[in-house]
Each structure stands twice: as C-alpha cells, then as structure tokens.
C-alpha cells in the first residue's frame, strides 16, 4: 500500500495550511519553536506566499492573515521598546505566545497524523466481512407479530379511528421561534454534503424541535429548487435519499 504522495522530495511542497508552512520554515532555520527569530521568519513566510502565488498554487486568505500577523509582530519588535510600565510589551508577548501555542498544538496533531499513517500500513489493513443479518436469518421463522392481539384489540383500534374521524382535526398553533433560514440553509447543505453516498431524508429531519424541522424542510426545498441537492426515491415506500450535486460544492468553495 504505497502512499500516492510519497515523493515529498520531487514534488513542490504542498502545505496543509499557513501553520504548516510556518512550521516548515522554523524547522529549516533549526531554531527552537519558543524562540522564533520573527523578523527573519516573517520575511521568509511572505516570500514563500509570493512564490506560491507565482506558481498558481492555492493561496487562501488564511495564509495572508498569518503573514499580516507575523509582519505585525515583527514591526512591534523593531520599534524601540517603550518603558516597562506601559502595557505594550505585554501585548506583544501575548501575540507571540499565542502563536507559539497554536504552532505547538498543530505540531502535536501533525505528529499524531504521522503515527496514524504508520499504523495504517503496519497493524491496520485487517479486512472483515460484510454481514447481512437478514441473510443469516432467512431460515429462521419470525415470531408472530400479532402475539397477544385478539379481535377485541382490533375492534378497539377501529373504534379509535372512527372516533377521531368524527371529532375532526385538531388545529394547533405553533409558537414562533426564531431560526434564520439562511443559517439552516447552510446547515442542511453541510449535512447533505457530508453524505455523498446519500443522506436519508428521515435522518435529516431527525434532530430538533418542531420549528427546527419545519425550517430545515423549508431550507431543503430551497436547496432542491436551486439544484444544489437532488432527491431520489426508488419506490413508493422507500426512503427519500438526498444527494449533493456538483453545484453544492461550488457553494462551499465560495464560503
């Protein structure tokens, strides 16, 4: 099971994100993560982002935000230090500290990812069977679903129906509750996107209050209309399945 992207050496470095790029630069500088030479690293970071732009690589706003942050810390460090009594040095230290902490956290997870990758090739790779429970039980006689039910029960059920039919429908007023449709729209679309092999309609409607269900349903109708979601029902009584369309992905990229 060879990893497709094993060749880090030959490929252009594809950074997972700005933190990844920054970590790489710090590693190249062979400096302690607690003691980053901000001025130098900031310049290198900006230069790397420029190169990425010139090579048409994806430079998201996150890179620009971190570049700006680095340049800001650099500028603070270059300014003559104000007297200690003032609060500015504290602020500068905080920014630096915050960055170091984010880097450390990210590095820890990046290392954990590496450990997982190793596990995937060593101890993992165990396959197991797909179990078809119904198939296993084909020769088993199911228990009588009418166990304990007699004619009287059937009759009582029929009476309930008639009684209700005579009473007429009960009209209930739903208390207004504020759920912005555009929030729900994004929310519903996200859930559909996360099930590229299809999300059951019932699953989508599963969570929440009555109002939430209504608004999700409205949101779903909107998504169907705009062609971001497609609905399928194989047979009359089968579940309605929802699928994201090509258009749905355009939306998340804009986001």
């Amino acid at each position: 099971m060879e990893r497709e992207n094993t060749g880090h050496q030959v490929e252009l470095p594809a950074y997972q994100g700005p933190l990844d790029l920054l970590l790489t630069l710090i590693q190249q500088e062979k400096v302690d993560i607690y003691d980053i030479p901000i001025a130098r690293v900031a310049d290198q970071f900006v230069e790397a982002v420029r190169q990425m732009e010139s090579m048409d690589m994806e430079v998201t706003t996150e890179f620009l935000v971190l570049a700006a942050q680095l340049l800001y810390i650099k500028s603070r460090e270059l300014l003559p230090k104000p007297p200690k009594s003032e609060q500015n040095p504290v602020e500068e230290e905080d920014l630096r500290q915050e960055l170091v902490e984010r880097l450390l956290a990210y590095r820890a997870f990046k290392q954990a990812a590496k450990v997982l990758e190793n596990l995937e090739t060593s101890s993992g790779r165990s396959y197991y069977r797909e179990i078809n429970v119904e198939g296993l039980l084909t020769n088993v006689k199911p228990e009588d679903p009418l166990k304990g039910i007699d004619f009287d029960d059937l009759w009582q059920a029929f009476c309930r129906v008639i009684e209700r039919a005579e009473k007429g429908e009960e009209i209930r007023y739903v208390e207004p509750d504020e759920i912005a449709i555009d929030i729900m729209l994004a929310d519903v679309l996200r859930r559909v996107l996360l099930h590229p092999k299809g999300l059951r309609f019932n699953q989508l409607m599963r969570i929440g209050t009555r109002m939430e269900m209504i608004v999700s349903f409205l949101a779903l109708l909107e998504l169907l209309k705009s062609g971001k979601v497609r609905a399928e029902q194989v047979t009359l009584l089968s579940e309605i399945m929802l699928y994201p369309t090509e258009k749905a992905w355009e939306f998340t990229e804009e986001e």
């Binding site: 396959y127 199911p142 209700r164």
Partner: protein, 182 residues
C-alpha cells in the same frame, strides 16, 4: 502434510471476505497458482475445518466457494440476531383494522379514514407479512390495493375472510363506514 502456508492463509482470507462465491479460476488468478493446486489447498482447508471445535465450513455454491458457518451452530447465531417480536404500534393496529374490515383498500383510503399519513404503519404491516398488495385499483394513478394475508387469518384461527366476526354484531353497519369515507 502442511505446505504452501502463506497461500493457504490467503485463500482462507479470500473465502472469508467473499460476498459472492469465488471460482477456483479466480482464486488461481489472485494467488498465482494453478487449478490443481487451488483444489489441493481447498481440500486442506476443508480437512482443517472438519474438526468438531471449528464452527466454520467451506460452502460450495454454483461451482464457487465461500466461508460459512456449520449447521450445528445455527441456533447460537439465531440467539445473537433474533429480534424479539415487537408489539405492533397503535397506528399499525389501526391500519390493520381498517384493512381487515374494508379490504381491498388503497393507502389513500386508509389515510383518509385515519386523518393522518399511514405510510410507515402500512410498510411495517407489509414487512411483517400481515398485509399484502393484491393489485391495483382502476382510476387515476392506479393506486395499490391492500388486503390481509394468510398469516393474518392463521393468527386469528380463521379459515377464510368470511369467518371474520361481524363488527360488534350490528353496531357498525356498512352505511356508517361508507359515511365515514365520504
């Protein structure tokens, strides 16, 4: 005699994960062995599985092979998976009563009588074999007609639908039912 141990292990694993039975040809291709050898290994595996402490067996289906469980362990598997019969919901019982007395009847008619959608309850009844689809009604959309099954009759000890007792002796005439349906 033990031989070709890695291939035997691979063969066993392939038969284990196989959803559809695997032909000796396909097995030979994957393991890069000739047919005679595949048959030899299958024989080895069968011999290993023959002991009483083994619960697995090689199933041969249409000239293909896969692993299965021995018949003698079936009852334990039943215990593992057998669902305790779930009592019918009130909704299902209502739908069943309407179908029992008004059959054959369409879902739309059942919905109308109950004043609520009955899809789910109806699906449950069909799944449990108490109600079945008996054709289509003439008219727009040609909706499916439902009726009770033999299993339903059996449960109530009836030989045919004619044996169904009248609804509480006259307390409920056809006219009344008809008026409900209007």
């Amino acid at each position: 005699m033990l031989f070709r141990e890695p291939e035997t292990a691979a063969l066993e694993a392939l038969l284990f994960v196989a959803k559809d039975p695997l032909t000796p040809e396909l097995l030979g291709e994957i393991l890069e062995l000739d047919l005679a050898m595949i048959k030899e290994l299958l024989y080895e595996l069968r011999t290993r599985y023959a002991v009483d402490s083994c619960g697995l067996t090689i199933l041969e289906i249409n000239g293909g092979f896969k692993l299965g469980t021995k018949p003698k362990v079936a009852r334990y598997i039943e215990i593992l998976y057998k669902q305790p019969a779930q009592a019918l919901s009130n909704a299902a019982l209502e739908v069943l009563s309407i179908i029992a007395y008004k059959q054959p009847v369409t879902r739309g008619e059942v919905d109308f009588i109950r004043g609520v959608q009955s899809d789910r309850a109806l699906a449950t009844l069909v799944e449990k074999g108490l109600v079945k689809d008996v054709g289509r009604k003439d008219g727009p959309g040609r909706p499916i007609l439902y009726a009770t099954t033999e299993q339903f009759l059996l449960h109530f000890g009836l030989r045919s639908l004619e044996d169904m007792p009248d609804l509480e002796a006259g307390s409920f005439s056809d006219d009344e039912v008809a008026s409900t349906l209007e």
